[in-house]
Symmetry: C2
Subunit: 216 residues, 2 copies
Amino acid sequence: MELWGFWRSLASFRVRIALNLKGISYEEIPIDLMAGLQKGEAYRAVNPQMVLPALRDGDGPVLFQSVAILEYLDETHPEPPLLPRDPRGRARVRGLAAIVAADSHPLIVPRIREYLEHELGVPEEARAAWCRHWIQAGLKAVESHLANEAETGRFCHGDQVTIADICLVSLMAGAKLFGADTDGLDGANRIAAACMELPAFADAHPLRQPGAPGRG
Amino acid sequence: MELWGFWRSLASFRVRIALNLKGISYEEIPIDLMAGLQKGEAYRAVNPQMVLPALRDGDGPVLFQSVAILEYLDETHPEPPLLPRDPRGRARVRGLAAIVAADSHPLIVPRIREYLEHELGVPEEARAAWCRHWIQAGLKAVESHLANEAETGRFCHGDQVTIADICLVSLMAGAKLFGADTDGLDGANRIAAACMELPAFADAHPLRQPGAPGRG
């Protein structure tokens, strides 16, 4: 498969984890978000929304939106499963994933930070505080489920990795990148650490990708 | 089933549409977003993220996050299906839904508008422009798929209603509420109009709910 991604893109990180968990070989085509290349003509022809990631499986068409891609990979490569089997469990996992992928991460992506800067004149420190605020709000919401629900296990939902863990880990990596405090989020910290012990997660980490600081 | 929602909540609108399409009877418990009641102790015990909607099916637990709820309803009440059967089609539908439910709508909800106002001091007209901007960006991204892909039919994906249509219609209703221009979005306008001819959509519309302007 071909993945259009970028080392720093947290949504690309999610797709890399799933590809690794499923044992799918892929080539990553880097699109430099810091240089704005996701808005260039070449990538626009791949994904008209001009956001990362995108994935091509065989002769296409191109798949877009990270969580839709995770569901596709789970449907086409069922082992190991990334969702539980019961509908209530699946709903909980998808709900936790959406707290991250819908209600948190989209608030801190480049296009939002650029609008805050250029359209609203928000200074750098206040933009950084915005990012930290929404990362922490998302993590706290996930934690409120993890801490109080019997379904929580070694991972977000029992003892198998699911889409919820993939999303949680991506936001925890965002917390690190943006300097957001995660003290007191005991469940989130414990589960993220358990995930990062798995090579599928560790190998997919932003700071392990070509182009990341210190990786050349 | 019991739905915690609000007339103006676009995510609650999505769940009402799905409940209607599936022929599921439900009671809606209104949580007044304009009065901030989603942050009150009573609702916090229902959904610790303090956002709408939430749904209880029988003896629970409470389901949260609108798209996770749509998937749950589709799994537990398969007719009529809200996703196509082939994985690529499902990925396209989920991707279109995510452009709305992840990358657009979360940018304009009350907690964001409040942060812009109170933390960043963004004046009212600029906050309204922010909402219009992100609604239009999402609709344009959806339109770029609808206009150029062979899978587009009477609805977003062929001639059956899917989760993509439910999400699209919710954002089109948001465009109306926030005064965002939708001229030129021919596919989105045509499909939203086709959806609104269906009673399941029309009956779920924000302005048809108790508490909406003119509805008492």
